[in-house]
């Protein structure tokens, strides 16, 4: 799922303090699960903002949306959005932008969207996918060299792998060590002998903003 984190409160205040009516819109899907922008976080943020002297002249309302990436869910916020001078969206970057398209008001992000990741334990998420658009997990025993190797090396490891850890940080696992261990467990070390050729990055964000259109479900597209 998408994993995000609340921006520092000082930063949030600096972006909304000049408005008189701010609507905080939480999102009930990814950011709720990663405890960054759900109803609980929205209400806690509101109660903190109301304590700030810089926010004395700002009235705050909170609305809770199921999702911010499908337009029908916004209907629940329309009325409050009309009232507001600005909307503070607690959705991921997608939600913020989608809200901004709908409302002709400043829509401000409360979160920094970080990565596509998994929940390893209560309160602990790690990045595992970069949305690179050309998945090679089959070759690497299910461990992503793009997202989990600091250098996105396809024929790793590099010379900086030491003790199973990456040179950039002793807490970061070397992805290629993990790949090696996994392929060994699976009895498929032969995969490591295959040289993976240079990647076509045009399938990633490098090729420009991407889109998907399904002609089989849409009657708008022939």
């Amino acid at each position: 799922m998408i994993v995000a984190e609340l921006k520092p409160i000082e930063e949030i205040i600096s972006t909304i303090e000049s408005y008189e009516r701010v609507l905080i819109a939480s999102c009930g899907t990814c950011v709720t699960v990663c405890m960054a922008g759900g109803e609980k976080e929205a209400r806690e943020l509101a109660s903190l903002l109301r304590l700030s002297p810089s926010m004395e002249n700002t009235e705050i309302r909170v609305v809770n949306l199921q999702r911010q990436c499908d337009r029908e869910f916004f209907e629940a916020a329309d009325e409050d959005a009309a009232w507001a001078d600005a909307v503070l969206s607690m959705g991921c970057g997608a939600g913020v932008q989608f809200m901004a398209e709908r409302y002709s008001k400043p829509v401000i992000p409360a979160l920094n969207t970080r990565f596509i990741g998994v929940n390893r334990d209560v309160g602990y998420w790690t990045e595992v996918c970069q949305g690179c658009g050309d998945c090679v997990l089959e070759k690497t025993g299910g461990i992503c060299p793009v997202a989990r190797c600091s250098k996105s090396i396809f024929n790793g490891p590099c010379g900086g792998s030491s003790g199973g850890k990456c040179e950039i940080n002793p807490d970061t696992d070397c992805a290629w060590q993990l790949i090696y261990d996994r392929l060994k467990t699976l009895g498929r070390l032969d995969r490591l002998y295959e040289t993976i050729p240079p990647r076509d990055w045009s399938l990633s964000r490098d090729g420009g903003p991407r889109r998907i259109r399904r002609s089989d479900v849409s009657t708008e597209v022939k």
């Binding site: 600091s150 250098k151 996105s152 090396i153 396809f154 024929n155 790793g156 490891p157 590099c158 010379g159 900086g160 792998s161 030491s162 003790g163 990456c166 040179e167 950039i168 940080n169 290629w176 060590q177 090696y180 070390l189 490591l192 002998y193 040289t195 993976i196 050729p197 240079p198 990647r199 990055w201």
Partner: protein
């Protein structure tokens, strides 16, 4: 087109190659490179010119290599994958060859977070093995990475690095093989301090016949002081036997001790079957290289 590089001919004629390093300055000062080149001229067969090592901005390897060659020292240009995409890499390779550079060492490159501009974007369009293959394809097939053929393509003598002390052993061997299969013809190793482990690595290299497919050069790092050797150990996680560190600690003349240690290591390394040269890294102390080469009884002639 000139013939093969001096370094390549030394290897191919059965000689024992000696190379050193030139670290370009953090400035546009050409004379720094010239001075270092002058120290090494006639002493070594070639000198590596590093490429923004540890992700700190320095004069580019291609420029510094040209300066070195203009002083009569053959360069081994280093190219990392960290800062350039494949377009820039291939473009630089055309330029480097046109300027007379003949040896190329291909590396992944230290991650930018280790340097002084960690905010920079992480390129790594291709990795070091893909780079080696691309350079080899230019040489052997006369093609760019796009598949487009062209005339007058660079024909570099391609090198790569290896770490005999990293784990897991098996994985590092796989990587070495892949580099050689991709086209690497000479291999420079991480600095050797632990002869026993190096011998074990060479044994496996020989078993796989890799020493016959590529020329192995052992790395020697010359330490000037106790602080230097302790930094080496800590920073790179290099395996340095305690007795060597103790020797540096206990000696009255650390510089001399550092030289003696290097000489002893060189002496032992030369006797190992399959080792075809040494690569001397005298960190910030290039001036010591001539005396080491001389005392080791090596020569660049």
């Amino acid at each position: 087109m000139a013939g093969i590089s001096r370094l390549q001919s030394v290897f191919e004629s059965g000689g024992f190659a000696v190379t050193a390093e030139i670290g370009p300055p953090m400035s546009a000062n050409a004379s720094h490179v010239e001075k270092t080149a002058d120290i090494l001229k006639g002493i070594v067969h070639a000198a590596n010119v590093t490429d923004n090592q540890t992700s700190i901005v320095r004069m580019s390897s291609i420029a510094a290599s040209c300066i070195a060659q203009s002083r009569g020292v053959e360069a081994v240009m280093q190219m990392t994958c960290r800062d350039r995409n494949r377009i820039a890499i291939q473009s630089d390779l055309l330029g480097a060859y046109a300027l007379g550079i003949r040896n190329l060492l291909c590396l992944s490159g230290d991650h930018q977070s280790l340097g002084n501009q960690p905010q920079s974007k992480n390129v790594y369009d291709i990795d070091s093995i893909q780079l080696i293959k691309a350079v080899a394809d230019m040489k052997n097939e006369g093609v760019f990475m796009s598949g487009k053929k062209s005339k007058n393509m660079p024909k570099f003598f391609i090198g790569a690095t290896a770490n005999p002390f990293a784990d897991p052993f098996e994985l590092q061997m796989i990587r070495l093989r892949k580099k050689i299969d991709a086209g690497a013809r000479f291999i420079q190793t991480q600095a050797v301090y632990d002869i026993g482990r190096f011998e074990a690595w060479m044994k496996e290299v020989r078993r796989l016949g890799l020493h016959e497919k590529a020329y192995i050069q052992a790395g020697i790092l010359v330490n000037k002081s106790v602080k230097s050797i302790e930094m080496t150990r800590k920073v790179s996680g290099m395996q340095i036997p305690d007795d060597i560190v103790e020797r540096m600690r206990n000696s009255d003349d650390a510089e001399r001790e550092g030289v003696l240690i290097s000489l002893e290591l060189i002496d032992k390394i030369r006797k190992i079957e399959g080792v075809r040269g040494i690569h001397i890294m005298a960190v910030g102390w290039e001036s010591i290289v001539p005396s080491i080469v001389k005392e080791a009884g090596l020569s660049a002639d």
